[in-house]
């Protein structure tokens, strides 16, 4: 597979470079700057990312440019551009003209391969304190902003380009055009990394890897495990056994509905109903950490019990996706994030299974595109993320059957309301496919749910005084779940849905809407 390598110097938006390229149907991989892989023939170009560091710092991250500069097409972005200038005879200085946010870009050399078809004036997104005061040897300016003359340059006789701004962020109007010029024009990639080509090559690869072995997969009802299951089913059919655990904490009718969908798609699936065990062990437990631990342990036990019944299983499949896999760049003074894998932990060692992760090179939106190409219905492909401990983290305090009933009813009204609200023409981008606008509120939202609060409040129904529970509605937009903003509902939707919940759900007399961003709040409450 022909590819572009993205070397990460620790910028928060490095992953976006990868996602923009993938949207152009260009395959790419992200590596930390200090772990450059072998540059074989499949590598058609290299991109150097931004960084929180300054090239003038003593311990600034370094890379051996001689590996690829002058040999392969090269694009430096922000820190990457400054690094090229700094190392190749130019000069980088701390600047008075710091630029953060929007700036207007003027193309100086419309004939440059990087600027082909880019409009003469366009908005770009800047985020830099340092500025390139002198270009590197052999370089010429190809675009400028009002404050920064050397906003983009190219080096004569090489396929080396650099931009001070961030073409990968949404606010750079011509960003995708510039990245396309680099990837498709300069690197000469075909743009043939499509869901269909991914499915074709992955199915072949899975068959070669697995042979006649048996594979076990835990299905959760979520997008990732569903797409992994359908893909494996296409590759190896009933050598795959799926286990779908009912922890008793799923949404209203979810276990039955999703199990039926899986069977309709021809998956060999075992419905493992352990709801009684989960609820009896959770009785009276109020501490959130304790709740999570019990659920995690029981999940492994249940999965284990059913998995053991599958004789001669050799592989455990997981719905791991690329953001779980990308190693973050170790930047001096900045602690790298430690990823805790929410996928089935601990099982392979006990069961002596090998791991197969067919989606490990895909971003979330690509998983959805692949799912759609596989013919999986929109209800499953466009599904919001759902926490592993399920509704347990949305019932603050201890869990009872009655509280679950109340929460399920309220949640069902909220989610159905989202799906049924036509928001065509309201300008909300789709959360499952950022290239289009959403037609219903469910698709405009990243994640949504109802939380049952552990207090009671006074109300009046008819002439009676009530003393019942409030519920909170939570709905956020996000691109990566690391940060999230609460969704700006039309007020008529909030009025209707809160009214319906109060009128129809026995035990609820009040509805509040969570208007907190992450940080400082989190998407889920526990």
């Amino acid at each position: 597979m022909n590819r572009i390598l993205i070397l990460d110097f620790g910028s928060q938006v490095t992953q976006l470079i990868g996602r923009r390229l993938r949207e152009l149907n260009v395959y790419c991989e992200i590596y930390p700057y200090d772990k450059v892989p072998a540059l074989d023939d499949s590598v058609k170009g290299v991109i150097l990312s931004g960084s929180p560091c300054s090239v003038r710092d003593a311990n600034a991250p370094q890379v051996d440019l001689s590996l690829f500069k002058g040999k392969l097409p090269l694009l430096g972005i922000c820190y990457g551009a400054q690094y090229l200038a700094h190392r190749c005879g130019g000069r980088v200085e701390g600047s008075i003209a710091r630029e953060y946010g929007r700036a207007m870009l003027y193309v100086v050399r419309p004939d440059s391969p990087l600027m082909q078809g880019v409009s003469p004036h366009s908005q770009v997104w800047m985020s830099h304190g340092d500025t390139i005061s002198a270009l590197p040897d052999g370089a010429e300016v190809i675009a400028s902003t009002q404050d920064v003359a050397n906003a983009a340059f190219q080096i004569a006789g090489e396929q080396t380009y650099a931009v001070q701004f961030h073409p990968e962020v949404f606010h750079t109007d011509e960003g995708s055009k510039i990245l396309a010029n680099f990837a498709l024009g300069i690197c000469g990639l075909a743009g043939d990394w499509t869901p269909d080509s991914f499915i074709e090559t992955t199915v072949a690869a899975l068959r070669a890897q697995i042979g006649a072995d048996k594979v076990i997969l835990g299905l959760s009802g979520g997008v990732d495990s569903t797409v992994a299951g359908v893909l494996l089913n296409k590759a190896i059919g009933h050598q795959l056994t799926c286990i779908f655990v009912n922890n008793g904490l799923l949404r209203k009718n979810e276990f039955e509905d999703v199990l039926e969908s899986y069977r309709d798609m021809g998956l060999n699936v075992i419905g493992a109903d352990a709801s009684k065990e989960f609820l009896s062990e959770l009785a009276g437990v109020t501490d959130p950490e304790q709740k999570r631990k019990i659920i995690g342990r029981l999940f492994v036990e249940t999965f284990d019990k059913y998995a053991k019944q599958i004789e001669n299983a050799r592989w455990l499949a997981q719905g791991t996706i690329y953001p779980d896999v990308i190693e973050s760049a170790g930047i001096p003074g900045i602690a790298s994030k430690i990823k805790s894998h929410h996928n089935v932990g601990g099982l392979p060692e006990q069961m002596n299974l090998k791991i197969v992760e067919p989606l490990r090179m895909l971003f979330k939106d690509e998983v959805r595109r692949v799912g759609r190409a596989l013919g999986i219905k929109e209800e499953l492909v466009g599904r919001h993320p759902f926490p592993g401990p399920s509704l347990a983290v949305r019932i603050l305090g201890d869990i009872t059957e009655e509280k679950l009933r109340v929460l399920r009813e309220a949640d069902d009204i909220f989610i159905r309301g989202l799906r049924n609200y036509d928001c065509t023409g309201m300008g909300f981008p789709s959360a499952s496919d950022p290239r289009v606008l959403a037609t219903n509120l469910y698709d405009a939202i990243w994640q949504a749910g109802v939380i049952l609060l552990p207090v009671r409040s006074v109300g009046v129904m008819g002439d009676e005084r009530t003393y019942e529970c409030p519920v909170a509605l939570r709905a956020v937009v996000s691109t990566d779940a690391m940060t999230a903003d609460w969704f700006h509902f039309p007020y008529d939707f909030l009025a209707d849905v809160s009214n319906e919940i109060i009128n129809k759900v026995r035990g609820v007399n009040r509805v509040v809407y969570d208007i907190s961003s992450k940080p400082p709040a989190t998407i889920e409450w526990e």
Binding site: P288, L396, G397, L453, P454, V455, S457, V458, G459, V460, M461, G462, D463, E464, R465, T466, Y467, P470, A472, L473, H488, Y491, L494, A495, S498, N499, I502, N503, N509, R510, V511, V512, Y513, D514, I515, S516, S517, K518, P519, P520, A521, T522, E524, W525, E526
Partner: protein, 317 residues
């Protein structure tokens, strides 16, 4: 009775009341519990007009008042209106009594009973009081049926036999405001939001603690400041915050936090019997949320109450 909607009707009401109050009170002394809310302030102003220094106003600071409120009551009534004002600092006394009490009715009863006790002590210090004035308004009488028990109806011991003076008991809130305006009370008093007798006590839900009460007072002050700055003061009937007794997770400085939420309540009504929520512009809600989570210690989340009355009451407890 015709609803008081114009200055002329208010003037007529005031003249009638002054006549009636003078006839009822004569040269005797009147005692009034002055909370600083519109109702008791209007009663005080009526009585000051009718019987002047024969009125003795007692302001009890029970620790459950809004930020800056006790100070303002002293400034307006003692300094500006030159009334006989008795200020009682009973903060510790109330909060100690309330420690660990989670049941709303119990809390109301304690606050009500303690209030009567403090008030009684002050009453006994004064000699020759014959009348007790109260800011009872019409919805109080209607609502004290099955829904809530209002503390300002009755409760003093048998031996303190006062005759009641309730000059505005047949008025709705909007009428009280028209009368207050006509009495020459300052706008910030006339249009002051209604405030429950148990004060912030019913908004610090469950068992009251001093730190959570402080988070409530601060978040409420931020909300009021932002509403005033953004033209919502006087437009929105009643707005305040609630800090419930539970916590949820959040992230602060890359670390997990475990803090309280703040609930914003903002409702519109003509008469307090029914209410709908204010559709606050989202840009302003963002700004208020940001200020609350950054400025108020112990808070990591903000919620907006969507519930109309009915089915929710305006207050949470």
């Amino acid at each position: 009775m015709e609803r008081i909607t114009t200055p002329a009707l208010a003037q007529k009401f005031i003249e009638e009341q002054i006549k009636e109050l003078r006839a009822q009170i004569g040269d005797k002394k009147v005692l009034l519990a002055l909370s600083g809310g519109v109702d008791s302030s209007v009663v005080a102003a009526l009585l000051i007009k009718a019987v002047g220094k024969q009125l003795f106003s007692v302001h009890v600071n029970h620790g459950l008042l809004r930020k800056g409120e006790p100070e303002q009551v002293v400034r307006v009534f003692r300094d500006e209106l030159k009334a006989n004002l008795i200020y009682v600092d009973a903060v510790d006394r109330f909060l100690d009594k309330l420690a660990g009490v989670a049941d709303p009715e119990q809390k109301r009863k304690i606050i009500g009973a303690e209030f009567i006790r403090v008030f009684e002590e002050e009453a006994r210090k004064l000699e020759g009081i014959s009348f007790l004035a109260q800011g009872t308004i019409y919805p109080d009488i209607v609502e004290s049926g099955p829904v809530k028990s209002h503390h300002n109806v009755g409760g003093l011991p048998e031996d303190l036999k006062f005759e009641l003076v309730e000059p505005i008991k047949l008025l709705f809130k909007d009428e009280v405001r028209v009368v207050g305006k006509e009495l020459g009370l300052p706008d910030n008093m006339v249009y002051r939001q209604p405030f429950p007798g148990p004060g912030l006590g019913v908004r610090c839900t469950g068992a009251i603690t001093r730190d959570r009460l402080e988070a409530l007072r601060e978040s409420d002050a931020i909300l009021r400041e932002e509403f005033a700055k953004n033209g919502l003061e006087g437009k929105v009937w009643q707005y305040f915050t609630i800090v419930p007794d539970y916590k949820s997770t959040g992230v602060k400085d890359n670390k997990r936090s475990w803090d309280w939420p703040v609930i914003i309540r903002a409702v519109n009504t003509r008469d307090a019997m029914t209410a709908t929520i204010e559709e606050i512009p989202y840009a302003l809600l963002h700004h208020i949320t940001k200020r609350i989570v950054t400025e108020v210690p112990g808070v990591n989340r903000v919620l907006y109450d969507l519930t109309p009355k009915p089915t929710g009451t305006i207050e949470w407890e």
